[in-house]
Amino acid sequence: MEFKLPIYLPVCKKTVLCRELCNRDYFQLLKYITTNNLAYIGSAFEELIIKLTDKEIVSAYDKFVLLSTLRSIIIGDYIEIYNTQKETIKYSISRIISNLSSEISNVNHNSQIQLDDLAINLSLPTTLYFDNTEDVIKNSIVDIIDGKKVIKFYKYSNDDKDIFFDSLPANVLLKIQEHMSSIMQKIDHLELIATDKRVNVEGIACNLYSNILLEFLKIIYSQDLMQFYELQYNLTTKLNVSYVQFMDMTPAESKIFINFYKKEHKASQTENNKINLAVAAPNTDI
């Protein structure tokens, strides 16, 4: 039996079952994050979603919710962000997601362009990473209906998307841009991190047509790679956890075990200190 987390996705309005993120996958993800190359990081996250859910998740916002929720449960719910005074302020990821999702799920983000007997369905973008503005526009096309056939455009490769996109009449481009503008107007007030002058925090706008969601994911999943190696070293040498066992654990489980070890080690040291003190003190009984 394999444990899976039920995670609700607000755009498709469905609950998906998601496997836990194990150290093996987290380690690979950390290496991608270290490259600081958003295109690679985006691909890594997309691959991770398919691996953990076995499902097609179409909307980039749903992917964002899935990955953020996973991070919140498997690694921890809090992140620390620096304010303008270089002080750290804690934020709850689940709260950020909840606030955003309640607004986004109330927005009508679907529309359709009719081209004779071809229908082009538009919605929120389908990819986490955008190379340029054209990418954003192209990835607002979800699927195409040709008679009774539904063609899943979001599954096409970038090159194939380009071929189709370039063949469209130019007036379709204008309609896609109008669709995007209409959504932007409804959600342009949204912020990932709200501006809070009381604690000197500058807000971060949540622009669904930019790489901000991917940047946020990169930040919340980031960890010093050396710390990860150190954790692996400590678990394998101090607790005799095998490499395979370590890689199969989740990051949260790894922390739990290392905290157990630290607690035990601290208790054992305290005991040793008491014994040493007793030996060192002179026997006053004659």
Partner: protein, 244 residues
């Protein structure tokens, strides 16, 4: 996953079902054109970053669009170009164009058919010695000389701006030259393959001739400019009108 070639073919079919009727001055009738594609719009917009040569690059793009989108094999000239390109723009993006906060209604332009003047071919005689025939160039002739010029700029990237503009001007006049006769020696420019030869003939003509040649070229520029004027604003036939 649906077949991409089938989808692209479907789009081609749709485009053929949505042809645009455009009045062509040189033909004095309407001809059907395919609508502008996203690829063509992207090419137009990209030309805007080419700097000094952007106008030349853009005209080549326009000429290519006209050739590809025309449903009939015709010889179009550069006067036809402004009517065709404007009609394609209006079909793709509608009748409004906003400049500096003012919105212009392009239907005021397109509702009028651009008429080709009677004198698209003229003869000039200079001091009874030199006879020159000028004719409004076809878009093929325009492209050939533009391409030659762009190539020349590429090979001489350090050409000062003033020299570059001078070259563009001379080559613009060259497009209109079809025949030069000096005494009894006739040079048929249409038969000359080498553009560099044509240029050396032009550059060896007396300077006094250039004024008349420029006047003729300017006639067509003025016709185009007058056609594109609405509410005292002359529409720029460049990338700007394709980004709205």
């Amino acid at each position: 996953m649906g077949s991409l070639p089938n989808l692209v073919n479907k789009l081609k079919e749709i485009n053929h079902n949505n042809l645009i009727d455009i009045f062509i001055p040189s033909q004095n009738k309407k001809i059907k054109f395919l609508p502008l594609s996203v690829k063509q719009q992207k090419d137009i917009i990209k030309s805007g970053v080419e700097g000094t040569t952007s106008v030349i690059v853009l005209n080549n793009i326009f000429n290519d669009i006209i050739t590809k989108n025309s449903t009939e094999k015709k010889s179009y000239n550069i006067l036809d170009r402004c009517a065709i390109i404007l009609a394609l723009r209006v079909d793709a993006f509608g009748n409004n164009f906003t400049n500096n906060g003012i919105t212009y209604d392009l239907s005021k332009i397109t509702k009028t058919e651009l008429k080709q003047p009677d004198n698209t071919k003229v003869n000039y005689t200079y001091k009874d010695i030199i006879n020159i025939t000028l004719e409004v160039p076809t878009i093929e002739q325009d492209t050939a000389i533009n391409t030659y010029l762009l190539d020349m700029f590429k090979k001489n990237e350090d050409t000062p701006l003033s020299e570059a503009i001078g070259s563009i001007y001379i080559y613009e006049i060259l497009k209109y030259l079809t025949e030069v006769t000096v005494d009894d020696t006739e040079i048929n420019f249409s038969a000359l393959n080498s553009i560099s030869t044509k240029i050396s003939v032009l550059e060896n003509l007396p300077a006094g001739i250039l004024t008349d040649l420029i006047k003729f070229v300017q006639t067509f520029r003025d016709i185009e400019s007058n056609y594109l004027t609405v509410d005292e604003f002359t529409l720029p036939l460049d990338a700007r009108i394709f980004t709205q």
